[in-house]
């Protein structure tokens, strides 16, 4: 076991949660992410191998699918993010590549991103001050990339109307957190 300590995207030893009024903004660091891209002419064997590994069907454009271990998020034509618990899947790229073989290209993406979960009954009021996506109409599982305060971000509706994940490039963590807090205070 290596002896290097990890830091959260916000630069602390442990992830933070902030509460403003009815909203909580939680830094989520316990998920690993790999990007998975089908290789040419391998659509069918890829689908088979993916189903075997992930246990769930590949979601369609604009969607995510959550299983007991893996969550899959469509990110582009023939491309998905595959999320799994960091504690058991830290070397997620190797795990996925092992299972998918030459049917797909796999890259480790875990530390490329910072994830903030926004929860509360007024979560949509907050989302509609952050990005052009029709948050009020997003159903559970809807997932789409968009822009939040000039930062390209993936927005996933974890629970319709009250729980969203915002996933932005890790280096923007401080700026994203600041933007989310300002928005939460604005609607408090």
């Amino acid at each position: 076991m290596h002896d290097l300590a990890a830091l959260t995207p916000l630069g602390a030893a442990a992830p933070r949660t902030d509460r403003v009024g009815a909203i909580s903004v939680t830094e989520v660091t316990d998920r690993a992410i790999a990007s998975v891209s089908t290789r040419n002419g391998k659509a069918k064997p890829f689908a088979t191998a993916a189903k075997a590994l992930f246990g769930i069907d590949l979601p369609a454009p604009g969607q995510s699918a959550a299983g007991p271990v893996w969550t899959l998020i469509w990110t582009g034509p023939d491309q998905w993010f595959a999320e799994a618990p960091f504690a058991t899947h830290e070397d997620i790229a190797a795990i996925a590549k092992d299972a998918l073989g030459d049917t797909a290209s796999v890259t480790e993406q875990t530390d490329g991103w910072v994830r903030f979960d926004i929860e509360g009954p007024t979560a949509v009021d907050m989302m509609e001050r952050l990005c052009p996506l029709p948050a009020r109409r997003m159903k559970t599982g809807a997932a789409s990339r968009s822009i939040i305060e000039h930062m390209g971000s993936l927005v996933i509706c974890r629970a319709e109307g009250r729980h969203f994940s915002v996933i932005a490039p890790r280096s923007f963590a401080g700026s994203m957190h600041h933007a989310l807090m300002a928005s939460a205070r604005s609607i408090a």
């Binding site: 454009p61 469509w74 034509p77 052009p132 968009s146 822009i147």
Partner: protein
């Protein structure tokens, strides 16, 4: 403007960056006799229609697809949007 992404539905054009005329897909053959002339025309000569224009947009803040959008340059009406990859393949582009 709203661009009707063929996979994702209507999206604000702010999520995209614009490249230019869709004729950029038709990159000349480097081994043609007059390759330099062909590349010159490919890169520098453009029609400038007042009306329907086929152009390339990149969904940079979205799914990273390139799209060929047919847009009326006078009214801004967007007539169609296709995946550029499909357009390219239909034009016979391959490897």
């Amino acid at each position: 403007m709203i661009i009707p992404h063929p996979l994702l539905g209507p999206r604000d054009s702010q999520e995209f960056t614009y490249l230019g005329d869709a004729s950029l897909i038709e990159r000349p053959d480097w081994q043609a006799d007059n390759a330099v002339d062909q590349f010159h025309d490919y890169l520098y000569l453009r029609d400038n229609p007042a009306g329907a224009h086929r152009e390339l947009w990149f969904h940079e803040q979205g799914d990273r697809s390139w799209l060929v959008v047919t847009r009326d340059t006078v009214t801004h009406e967007i007539i169609s949007a296709e995946l550029a990859r499909d357009v390219a393949k239909a034009k016979g582009r391959s490897k």
